[in-house]
Symmetry: none
Subunit: 212 residues, 4 copies
Amino acid sequence: MSTEHSSGRAASRDAGDTGSERRAELLAIAADLFAARGVRATTVREIAESAGILPGSLYHHFDSKNAMVDEILREFLDHQRRSYDEVLREAADARTTIAELVRRSFRGMHRYRAAVAIFQNEANHLAGIERFDHLRQASRDFERVWKRVLADGRRTGAFRADLNITLAYRFIRDGVWTAVHWYNPRGRLTINAIAEQYIAILCEGIAAPERQ
Amino acid sequence: MSTEHSSGRAASRDAGDTGSERRAELLAIAADLFAARGVRATTVREIAESAGILPGSLYHHFDSKNAMVDEILREFLDHQRRSYDEVLREAADARTTIAELVRRSFRGMHRYRAAVAIFQNEANHLAGIERFDHLRQASRDFERVWKRVLADGRRTGAFRADLNITLAYRFIRDGVWTAVHWYNPRGRLTINAIAEQYIAILCEGIAAPERQ
Amino acid sequence: MSTEHSSGRAASRDAGDTGSERRAELLAIAADLFAARGVRATTVREIAESAGILPGSLYHHFDSKNAMVDEILREFLDHQRRSYDEVLREAADARTTIAELVRRSFRGMHRYRAAVAIFQNEANHLAGIERFDHLRQASRDFERVWKRVLADGRRTGAFRADLNITLAYRFIRDGVWTAVHWYNPRGRLTINAIAEQYIAILCEGIAAPERQ
Amino acid sequence: MSTEHSSGRAASRDAGDTGSERRAELLAIAADLFAARGVRATTVREIAESAGILPGSLYHHFDSKNAMVDEILREFLDHQRRSYDEVLREAADARTTIAELVRRSFRGMHRYRAAVAIFQNEANHLAGIERFDHLRQASRDFERVWKRVLADGRRTGAFRADLNITLAYRFIRDGVWTAVHWYNPRGRLTINAIAEQYIAILCEGIAAPERQ
DNA sequence: TATGAATGAGGTTTCATTCAT
DNA sequence: CATGAATGAAACCTCATTCAT
């Protein structure tokens, strides 16, 4: 084990206090900065300044900058995992399920926008740090969900027989999650509109149906 | 915005030296590191070390670290712009054209893999620096090409009438370019295979066609 | 030299509170940490944590970290001074007196182990701080006691005529007090055993007496 | 393995360059400060200031502050080990050997004064850091040398039969090495004078021989 | 008495860059 | 072309201490 673990030094950082209001505030501020500028490019000075405190004061609440990143990401990942699992338990047909997965991805993106942006931008780089090992597991968990539904759909004839499951999964994943780069919660395009359009393209393609 | 102007010293290199072999070598080494670890996270020391020289020596070839990034990106962007323009000049039907754009995107990704990764990962962050203003222009150029073809296709009935051009463009762009994160030139999935599968999904959708 | 004066606030504690039980407990905890890790290396957070309170709470009992160190050292130094003085008042021959000084040093080390360790490790560094000026005086007091006995013994013929008083004093002092680094109160070697062996070596040497 | 290892990042720090003149200068400056104020209490800023450079510049020569400490200590320890081993190879009687060990200890103290002071003051605290694991081995090596000679002497009758080898060793070690705290190379007491007086006390004791 | 949030100074280290040789 | 020493700014983090509650 390397140095990248929460040492639980101060009472204020022990399990119970994880939910303090000030903490949540600071975390939200940090998340927005991380999302906008990148984790490395965001300095603790900037976070502190945005929060109106001094850099050292951040360390009363968090063990390190990476500990903040970690907490931000975990909250999103836990939520998203639960959300996907719910869909699987509802056991609809493959096409309905895929559509619902897309919808829930966009809803997660809406609710945890900063976290999604961080995850999307930096998962690769962060994964080199021991503390962020769990990111890889989360990615694998997500992958398993999508691929299972795609494979089911192909087997039952809901999806094309020549569908390459891996490539389809990657196309969807990348297309959907990368939307966080341009999605604007206060823009004209709502989460629902985007999701439904993506689902349409994904399922039916952009080509017009042949006239019969 | 910082002040990122090429200093006077650069003049001595702008003409002849730009094409030196050593330069290209160094640039390739740097590009791979930038792509793998991120621009900020890659130190000039690491680049120098990979090249077997000392950090100071890099400055005989390039004005700065960002100058290297700039050169790496420009090469790719110029190529890609020309490649897209060629497609437009060939004036096929919309669907053929879209397919060809996808193919040429993947070919660009194959040839300028590191540059694409850098562009994909860091264009947003770099765009804040004066020297990288041109990235935004390049993005706009690409966008114009894709949207024109999509709009043409919708007008001529090749594409669905209810297609949201902007969203379709973004979905394609994100899905295609983000593939650089996992594309492995020595893997089993060739550029061609990926491109054709993506084109199929994109045009026809993943859903099996209704039996008539 | 820093300004280390007890602030006005301390007045409220100087009389009655000095003897509180909680204080003594906290002081003992701090002393052990200071001894084990060094004064500088021990943080008030660690002390507080060991005591089960928060760092800020320590300041209800003590003015500062150095005030704790000071109190710990003073208790030992006052005791040791009194103990040495008693020996001098008993007025035995030089050799008996030296032996008794050694014994009482070890007894002091046993009773004020942490304080002795701190004194031994850090007197030099602490002496640069105004508040710890008295350490130098204590050292001088101790030195005077030992040297007087050694000089008496040399004059009366109890000790060798070629004895260098200063060097002998230093050898004894260093050899004896440094034992605090390895002395283990729960180990097999008792304070008495160590003292008697040291007295033997000191007085008779390690060499076997010449056969006559 | 933790983070405390030389990473050999820069060419200037690779094996060969270990002997540069500037390095040695800087190391000597640092050693004196470490010895005088303690390792923790000495800041890299102070070292740099003493050397007339900026703090960051130190990192051109050394990987870290602890790397400097390590190098300082290793040089002394390697020397002292070799020096002790030479004595053992000369195979004189136990008393002569012990005397020679004392002499060589003082000579080592003279030549590597700062290193000895650091070793004496901080070996215990440093040993908690992985990088300084070897300190414990060095201590054990030294202990083995002294104890072997003491045991030999007791067996052959050169030393008292009731000598406690462990305690005798510790007394000598502590008495001798702690002298570094007050030894002044420009003072009146030469290394030789101190060594001979210590040898006399150690072997014959401070008590005057009984008249025969 | 105790808490928890904050301070402010200072710590070690990193790193792009410069420049005399 | 390359080196190696140095710069200077800025990074993350630590910690004794304060103080309103």
